[in-house]
């Protein structure tokens, strides 16, 4: 437990590389060259096919998922001292401090609880786009499996909701290790398609989560930012932590096309004829504005936003975020003590 709280970037990198090295050795027998490709490269992971294997490959060794309870209780992780108040359990009195200061103080501890996490994967048609090594949906599948594996390994509860226009799959959160198989099975059997109505789908989920927990949204978040913000606020009101993992394709960020072409909508049955040279600047401007708005909306509701592109190393993306989150918690705890 103490190791998880004090996880340092160096230690996690060291363990991450060690695992990758050992697994790469076993993969190399399948014909992959460890010198030319990284095991965490999305294209390489995608070739593994089995999501469970992917999850193990990525997660094993680099995190031992520890989550603190926000309840102060009697567990061993000391949090702070506070003056005794009537009604407090006398067992919590710090006699040593009383001997020093002749005052009554009660010792408080952070309570360790099982985290209830719901992974919400967006399977709308726009997630099917992928000119780079993998599609956004595939990247979301791999990220979801990694997160699920990570959380279950920590004996946290993991649930899955696949949202989209035509697909509504829901697996309620359970802490059992063999629950991962079901999560991954559902993920594997869904294809991204149809028009996105992410906000409406999320509204339906708000009623299903009874306990406060962590909602992890894997989506490109295309659509109205205001509506999404409104729905995510409802989650926040109910006490849920929200992590928005925005998955984008690099082509969507650079729009590298040169020749005039028909662009076929992945969500609606339509095509538009576009000369990329003439719309690039305006497109990029619109897209940048969208990202800025989304970032502002997520910040406003106190959630976290991680933007990942499908050509980025999945392990690095997850590790980077978790490391950053651990640092924030540590800073937050230090402020609380002071």
């Amino acid at each position: 437990m103490d190791g998880g709280v004090a996880l340092s970037p160096d230690s996690h990198k060291k363990s991450l590389r060690g695992t990758a090295q050992s697994d790469a050795t076993s993969i190399d027998s399948d014909g992959l060259n460890e010198n030319s490709v990284s095991i965490f490269d999305p294209q390489t992971l995608s070739k593994l096919g089995n999501l469970e294997l992917i999850a193990q490959t990525v997660v094993d060794g680099f995190l031992s998922g520890k989550h603190r309870s926000t309840h102060k209780g009697g567990c061993t992780d000391f949090s702070e001292l506070r003056p005794y108040a009537q009604g407090d359990d006398l067992r919590q009195l710090d006699w040593r401090h009383y001997a020093k200061s002749d005052r009554y103080y009660v010792r408080q501890f952070d309570d360790e609880t099982n985290l209830q996490a719901l992974i919400v994967a967006d399977a709308s048609g726009s997630m099917r786009f992928g000119m780079s090594p993998v599609s956004k949906w595939r990247y979301a599948q791999m990220a979801s499996s990694c997160l699920g594996h990570l959380l279950l390994r920590q004996r946290d509860s993991v649930g899955l909701a696949v949202v989209g226009n035509q697909t509504h799959e829901y697996v309620r959160p359970l802490p059992r290790a063999n629950h991962l198989a079901r999560v991954l099975n559902v993920l594997s059997n869904v294809d991204a398609s149809g028009e996105s109505n992410l906000a409406d789908s999320l509204v339906e989920l708000t009623g299903r989560l009874k306990r406060r927990g962590l909602v992890i949204l894997l989506s490109d978040c295309f659509g109205e930012v205001a509506q999404l913000k409104q729905v995510l606020e409802q989650f926040r009101v109910r006490g849920h932590d929200i992590l928005v993992m925005q998955i984008l394709a690099p082509e969507e960020l650079t729009f590298p096309f040169r020749r005039e072409a028909f662009f076929e909508d992945l969500e609606l049955p339509r095509q538009i004829q576009v000369n990329p040279n003439t719309v690039r600047k305006q497109y990029l401007k619109e897209f940048q504005q969208f990202l800025n708005d989304l970032h502002q909306a997520v910040v406003d509701i106190g959630a976290d936003l991680v933007t990942m592109t499908t050509d980025c190393d999945l392990g690095d993306s997850l590790a980077g975020y978790l490391h950053k989150r651990a640092s924030q918690k540590k800073t937050q705890a230090a402020r609380t003590r002071v």
Binding site: D220, F222, F262, F263, N275, K281, Q282, Y283
Partner: protein, 739 residues
């Protein structure tokens, strides 16, 4: 517009290539599945029309670049005022200083008008222009060795130079002058050439019949390195009755005479004006001294008259005899004409004879010398001809210098050494005279091989056969009276006073002119049946006369007749006229002279009609005499070589270059000729293109514009690159940042 390489225009369809590429790329479109459609639809709705405009502009620039490249390769020439740049020009002023420009009406001469017009043109020139002046009289003479800048200093210098120019007796050769003005390379950075012709538009000056030369001029103007414009400034006087009396030419009975011999002179005076002339006094001058005066009655328009006089000159030498009419008319310069005559005590003539003593009672040698007044008995013949014969045999010819004699006479041609024949040919070619009488000593085959040489030798005729006349009363044995027309037989033709009709021939060689040369060979005398007996022709600058019978009594009785003496003198005069013609020249013929004996060591200086002095070129000759030559005799008038020893003139030789009498007539180019002229110069004919008085006509040349097209090509390419680059920057934007 015309093209130097019009074949390249076949590549013009390439202009469609950008359009085809544009259309092809428009048809070849991929289908890209796309997720972020919401941003694409928003972007597409903005700036669609501007995008089309930009594409159209790019397409136009690309097509323009191809058109500019193709046209530049085709090298177009275009005529247009707006093409003419304001760059400095090389200006050639062609000044008509011919005789007609001296015409004066009411104290205003055409030359004054020319100066006014020229000053106006000079005033308009910019400081960067360079000016050349070409005098048109006598085929063109550059007044300035190099161009003079048209700045203030240069203009002053030009005016000073032009102040010394006056109308001459010469004829303007405007066509030749324009050709010369087009040819020189530009000296400085002047990109254009402007040729301004100042003339009174005399038809005589334009050579309008030389169509080939006009075409060459137009070609030369088109192909000139610098675009050339030609302007014609009309300097003719206002219409008025032309009033002019001209002394056209002088004829002398003989141009070589002995001292105190009478010379009959006849001057042709013509009223070339449009009104009757007044009575005039005609003066005869010998070296500027009046020796005779004659009155001339008024002449009607285009009427001519001959004024005659006789002159006796006492001392040996060369004399310029001038005839001058004294009256007021519009052209004063043509009121006189001159002729140079030679007075000599003796003119050496070489007689070549091979007759053996006692062979005949009177040899041809003796007969000929007697005809010239040189008899063995000096007392019997006090008179003798100016021709002094020296008798030699053919064997002695090897030691003789032919240049010392005016004429060489063979009384009965025998066989000669090849070297002698070569020297004789050279002698005749340089202006000497040769009289060859054939006879019994003549070898037909050798003559035909060496003298005739199939037309390449000095003899204009070959020998066919020897004809023997049995009955001398038959036409074949008689001499047909010669023609009055030929100057060598004018006197012989007079059968009333002379007895040529009594001549009888017993034998003679039948002569046959070379095929094709019959027209150039003059037959002086022929037999009664038409067989040529005496023929003459030019060989080089000299004359050769071939006679079919000897000069003695062997084959004819001619030496016994009175006609014999006349014949010998006339034919010697005729043959030696080439030597006297050296003093009476046509324009362009070189002056060639030797130092007189009394001025062997003097320095010769030549004074031209305009008073300028020139040093003479010394030509050493084979005979050891120094010979002087001066070639620039394009200006008519009197030239003099003064032989000076220190400041003293030891001797003087006059030379007269005859003028073109056509300049005395007043004949302005007609309307038809004017149209022809304008057309030849590339001007469009019409109301605006007339050569009006004091109005310059500019002929804008077709100028090459491929430099401009290449510049346009660069502009198109640069614009296309800049525009496409700018559009690329405008449209590409900055990649979206996710941080």
């Amino acid at each position: 517009m015309s093209f130097l390489n019009g074949l390249f225009l076949a590549a013009l369809p390439l202009v469609a290539v950008p359009v085809l590429i544009h259309l092809y790329r428009g048809r070849q479109r991929d289908v890209i599945p796309w997720g972020a459609m919401q941003f694409l639809t928003q972007a597409k709705t903005k700036g669609r029309s501007i995008e089309r405009l930009e594409e159209l502009l790019l397409l136009t620039l690309r097509m323009g670049a191809i058109v500019a490249l193709v046209l530049a390769l085709a090298q177009p020439l275009i005529r247009g005022a707006w093409w003419a740049t304001s760059d400095a020009s090389e200006v050639v002023l062609i000044v008509d200083n011919s005789l007609s420009m001296s015409r004066t009406v009411e104290d205003l001469s055409a030359w004054d008008l020319l100066n006014e017009n020229m000053n106006e043109v000079l005033a308009e020139l910019g400081g960067g222009d360079r000016v050349h002046v070409l005098l048109a009289s006598g085929g063109g003479e550059w007044l300035t060795a190099e161009g003079i800048p048209a700045d203030s200093g240069g203009k002053s210098r030009l005016e000073a130079i032009l102040d010394n120019v006056e109308p001459t007796l010469g004829k303007a050769e405007l066509l030749d002058c324009m050709q010369r003005a087009i040819q020189p390379e530009s000296e400085g950075k002047q990109r254009h050439r402007r040729i301004v012709v100042f003339t009174d538009n005399q038809a005589n000056s334009w050579q309008l019949d030389a169509q080939g030369a006009w075409r060459q001029l137009e070609e030369a103007r088109k192909n000139s390195a610098a675009p050339t414009a030609i302007e014609i400034v009309d300097c003719s006087l206002q219409e008025s009755k032309f009033n002019n009396l001209a002394v056209m030419q002088i004829e002398a009975s003989s141009k070589i005479v002995q001292p105190n011999d009478s010379i009959e002179l006849s001057a042709l005076v013509n009223n070339t004006g449009h009104v009757a002339s007044q009575n005039a006094t005609v003066q005869w001058l010998v070296d500027e001294n009046v020796v005779a005066t004659t009155n001339l009655k008024g002449l009607q328009s285009n009427q001519s008259a001959r004024v005659k006089t006789s002159v006796r000159l006492e001392h040996a030498g060369h004399y310029a005899i001038t005839c001058r009419a004294d009256l007021q008319d519009q052209i004063a310069l043509d009121q006189q004409s001159s002729v140079v005559v030679e007075v000599s005590d003796q003119l050496p003539v070489l007689l070549v004879h091979d007759s053996q003593p006692g062979e005949n009672a009177k040899s041809a040698n003796e007969l000929l010398m007697a005809a010239l007044g040189y008899h063995q008995d000096e007392n019997a013949q006090p008179w003798h001809s100016v021709y002094h014969p020296e008798s030699v045999t053919s064997d002695e010819l090897a030691d003789r210098t032919f240049a010392n004699y005016r004429c060489v006479i063979f009384t009965d041609l025998g066989e000669l050494e090849p070297d002698v024949l070569d020297r004789l040919s050279e002698f005749v070619a340089k202006g000497g005279a040769l009289w060859v009488a054939l006879g019994a000593r003549t070898d037909r085959v050798a003559f035909n091989r060496t003298w005739h040489d199939e037309g390449q030798g000095p003899s204009p005729v070959a020998i066919q056969i020897l004809r023997t006349v049995d009955d001398t009363n038959e036409p074949a044995g008689m001499i047909h009276p010669p023609s009055h027309e030929h100057p060598a037989t004018v006197h012989l033709a007079n059968t009333t006073q002379l007895d040529i009709d009594e001549a009888r021939l017993y034998e003679y060689w039948q002569l046959s002119p070379t095929q094709g040369e019959s027209s150039s060979v003059s037959v002086l005398v022929e037999s009664g049946d038409g067989s040529p007996l005496v023929v003459e022709n030019y060989f080089g600058r000299g004359r050769i006369l071939v006679q079919a019978f000897p000069l003695g009594l062997e084959w004819s009785n001619l030496p016994q007749l009175k006609s014999y003496v006349v014949m010998v003198h006339d034919w010697l005069d005729y043959l030696t006229a080439g030597s006297t013609a050296r003093y009476n020249l046509s324009p362009g013929h070189a002056i060639v002279a030797s130092s007189p004996a009394e001025a062997a060591f003097a320095t010769p200086e030549l004074v031209t009609p305009d008073g300028n002095e020139h040093s003479l070129i010394v030509e050493p000759t084979n005979d050891g005499h120094a010979r002087f030559q001066f070639s620039r005799t394009h200006q008519p008038g009197m030239y003099r070589i003064a032989f000076k020893s220190g400041n003293e003139t030891v001797a003087s030789l006059p030379f007269y270059v005859a003028r073109d009498t056509g300049e005395s007539s007043w004949q302005v180019i007609s309307e038809e000729e004017r149209e022809k002229l304008l057309s030849a110069l590339g001007l469009h004919t019409g109301a605006d293109s007339s050569v009006a008085p004091q109005q310059a006509q500019a002929i804008r040349p077709e100028e090459p514009i491929w430099e401009f097209l290449l510049l346009l090509l660069i502009v198109f390419l640069a614009s296309e690159l800049l525009l496409s680059n700018w559009l690329g920057r405008q449209r590409s934007g900055v990649a979206v940042s996710t941080t």
